[in-house]
Every structure is written in C-alpha cells, then in structure tokens.
C-alpha cells in the first residue's frame, strides 16, 4: 500500500513522541493487549501440565516462587487492570461520551493500574 520505509512505519505506530495522551493510551492498550495474549498462551501451557498428573504440575508451580516470575506476574496484573479500565474508556469515547475528559480518564486508568500493582506487590512479596 505504501512505499515508505516499513520499519519506520512500525516504529511510528509505537512512537509516543509528539503524540497526545489519547495516542499514548492507544499505544499502551496495544502493548498490554499483545502482552496479555502472550501470557494467555503461557497460561495454557502451564495448565497443560495438569494433564501430566498432579506431581508434574506441583513441580512446575515451584518455579513460580522465584522473584523473577513474581515480577512477571506483577506485569500481568498491571496490564490487566490498565487494559480493562482503558477498554471502558474506549467504549465511552467511541460513543462520543467523555471526549473532553478522555485525558483524565487515561491518567486515572494508569494511576489505578499502578496502585493495583502496588497492592498486589505488597501482598506477594510481604505476605
């Protein structure tokens, strides 16, 4: 469709510079969406362990106690909260509702995602 440099096109898609909060929300929604899709497959693979019997599953679960995996889980939690809240924001703005407040709604989604992640982090690492 286009003879302009394709690598630049992909970068431009995710380039936050010179954009507005609405576009940042869009970029973040895409990234968290891709991340969550990746996680879904990971999740299914983990559940697939159940088919190999309880012991295989238990052994695998031991892995999830490593801090690195916990950090990954925190990313998933943050992504879920942001993606869900921004989804609601997109539903509203799609119908022309809250267009003037779209920036604030975006910042609120990010804030709530950060707070939510923090709460889970405290429970996971301290609890």
């Amino acid at each position: 469709m286009n003879n302009q440099p394709s690598s630049r096109k992909l970068l431009t898609w995710f380039n936050p510079l010179g954009r507005n909060p609405g576009a940042w929300a869009f970029i973040l929604n895409r990234l968290t969406g891709l991340g969550l899709t990746f996680y879904l497959f990971l999740h299914l693979i983990v559940l697939g362990r159940l088919a190999q019997g309880p012991q295989a599953y238990e052994e695998f679960l031991e892995l999830t106690k490593s801090p690195l995996v916990k950090l990954g889980e925190l990313l998933v939690i943050g992504a879920v909260i942001y993606h869900a809240l921004n989804g609601l924001r997109v539903v509203l703005t799609s119908f022309g509702l809250g267009i003037r407040q779209q920036t604030q709604m975006f910042y609120l989604s990010v804030l709530l995602a950060l707070v939510g992640t923090l709460v889970f982090a405290i429970r996971m690492f301290a609890g």
């Binding site: 286009n2 096109k9 609405g22 799609s94 022309g96 779209q102």
Partner: protein
Amino acid sequence: MEVTLKIFRFNPEVDKRWHYETYRVNAEPTDRVLDLLEYVKGYIDGTLSFRRSCAHGVCGSDAVRINGMNRLACKTLVRDLGDKITVEPIMGLKVIKDLIVDMEPFFENYKKVLPWFINNSPLPADGKERLQSPEARERFDDTTKCILCACCTTSCPSFWGSDDYLGPAALVAAHRFIFDDRDEAAAERLQIISETSGLARCHTAFNCTMACPREIQITKAIGELKLATITGRLD
C-alpha cells in the same frame, strides 16, 4: 536563525529507495515551513517536489509530516519547531516523488460516503431555497470546516494498517451530511459507514483530532456517528 532542514527525498526515475537530504537555511522565526521548502526549491535544489496551491491554509494541498506530526506546511511557523526541522510525506499513501503522495485512495474513500447534498423532494412553494434553522445548521457546523488535506486520515493508525478503512476525513464528510436536516440520504450513508471498513475501525487514538489543521473535533464526530448507527436517532 539558522535552521537545519531535513527533507525526505525520493525520485522514482533515479532512486531505488528513499533517502534524506539536509539543508541549512536562514529563516525568520515567523517564517512558515512552506517558505523554507520554497527557498530550497528556488535557491538550492530545483528538483525538490511538493504540493502547494493557496499557501494560506485553505486549499489543503501541502499536508506533510513535520517533526513527526501531520501539519500544513503553510500554517506551521519555524518558531514553534526550533532549529531542527524534519519534513516527510504523510504516511499510509504511496509516495510519487519527494513530498508528493498519491491521494487517489484517500479520495476514493471520500467518495464512498456520498459527500454531496441529496434531496429529491420538490422545492418549497416559493421555489427558492430550503430554509434551515440556525440551531439545525449548528448541529454539523464543525464538520463543514474540512479542507480534505488528509492530515487526519494519514495520522490514523487504523489507516496505516489498511487503506480500505474509510478514514477520519471520509467520516467527517459523512457526519456533515448525515446531521444536515435538509439532506435525505442519512440512512443510506449510515449503512455505508457501518460496514467493516467504516466506523468499527476507529479505536479512538485521537491522532486525527490532534492533526486537524482546522481543529475539527473529529473523534467526537465519529463518536456521534457510532451512536447514530445504534440508536438510529439524528438529533
């Protein structure tokens, strides 16, 4: 002040691929980017190609990407950009030469929404004009301002992904006629923009609203169209 002007260059008769040329030009802070392009073409390299017509922000010919943002070169001042300015063609359309892109797919999408007044009822008794109240005129005032420069459509990530998406500009045109109470083809247009290549491709990234040199609230207009397709109401 001295400005470093980096311009996207592509000559299909010579070049296998695009490249950038850098020019150093003297500019006043109140100069427009179009003035710089004219200077380069007039005094440094006459082969530089770009579209311009009225040069006063009305014809919509000189939409280009300036420092990554879609702007009209004739409405963008040097003082708002600093001394490093990059000028590239708008994205999502084929480059013909340098800053000139093939606008045909853009206009094809525009034509799909029937962007003209449709009213087959007989004229009023005096045979003169179809009167409209100021309130009814106000309803679609914002979307009458479009100059078809393509800044919005070529800033839209959905359009970059597929050029069969109607794009913000065509939807703005649809809005202008759908909410005009003298027009009688609203239902037909709503049907056209409800198809998969229409409204559903808008993910409200607000790039179009930011890019519009006429400051049309495009995302809002598209939202009103989405509501209209669901409720069937046009008030």
